[in-house]
Chain length 212, copies 2
Amino acid sequence: MTLDSRDYLTDGAEIYRRSFAIIRAEADLSGLSPDLARTVVRMIHACGMTDLPRDLAAAPGAAEAGRAALLAGAPILCDAAMVAAGITRARLPAQNEVICTLNAPEVPDLAAKLATTRSAAALELWRDRLQGAVVAIGNAPTALFHLLDMIDAGAPRPALILGLPVGFVGAAESKAALQADSRGVPFITILGRRGGSAITSAAVNALASEAE
Amino acid sequence: MTLDSRDYLTDGAEIYRRSFAIIRAEADLSGLSPDLARTVVRMIHACGMTDLPRDLAAAPGAAEAGRAALLAGAPILCDAAMVAAGITRARLPAQNEVICTLNAPEVPDLAAKLATTRSAAALELWRDRLQGAVVAIGNAPTALFHLLDMIDAGAPRPALILGLPVGFVGAAESKAALQADSRGVPFITILGRRGGSAITSAAVNALASEAE
């Protein structure tokens, strides 16, 4: 490894190409469909960890369902502003709307009324956009739990759930609940504590375009 | 582990409290100053990995320097929109400016002229804000390399470099270069491939307020 900072690669396209080549050489992508593999490669790119597939769980056809939904113009519903900020608008195939309701003015009152977190309460404002949407949960376990509760209570079904909350309280549990019973909705998740906004927006960006 | 999604914790403050307690119980924070430990706890919270301290490198007093700079009103210079989006404005002690120049209109031309990435070229627009600033690099290795080059060429010195780019080409190398010679600037980094925008904005959020 050179420590001379004047001797580093500065061609953005070449950096991407080499990065994805390293990931595909190191990561075990066996058994994944081409669309899911491409999605996982980009998730790995966002976190620097090629062992991510070890914890991957996905419904058959989930990546394809998400890609089809985006091509058809589905909105992307994000639980956190960081997830929304990480989605590359130029990659979206249909000028898809990117929606995050967390900071909507009614959310604090709604959270108090529902006795839940703001992250969970914010999903109540998704209801009229949920049908056929791509849901991207990259922060709050309570948001993923609340989504499952909403679907159980009759809310419209999204086309895909990217269920990727991160952390120590509820993250592993909410993702295990999604894997155990996704209520028939296609899903992609990383079981355990890992997840987060960068991995989540990377997954959306991968589904949005076949270009690496 | 229960899979009943109706049986999960929904009190945001209690989720935070338990999360930080788990992190402090599991992570090896020995030898870290209180400010640095608090910063690392929040970085772990953002990625779900309690082994993060294994790869930590920081100059003595770096967290304290960053905290003092923020209290004194220093701007926060971010290499990526996601880093800026993840900074909790309400935690900032002096309504500090959060600046990301990546999408400034002159950046593509600047990148072509300097034969580097847009992420690196965007730092050229930081020059008149760099003195005493908190630099938060959470995405691009070329941005961290370019910052070191700028300082070598006489650019003003920031108060703190959070050098946390992620990935497979240049990330480990740029962070090793920072650790080997930070040009006398206080720094905090995670060596190797791990890093990213969520970890980086979490570090800023920790330095911004002593409240966990």
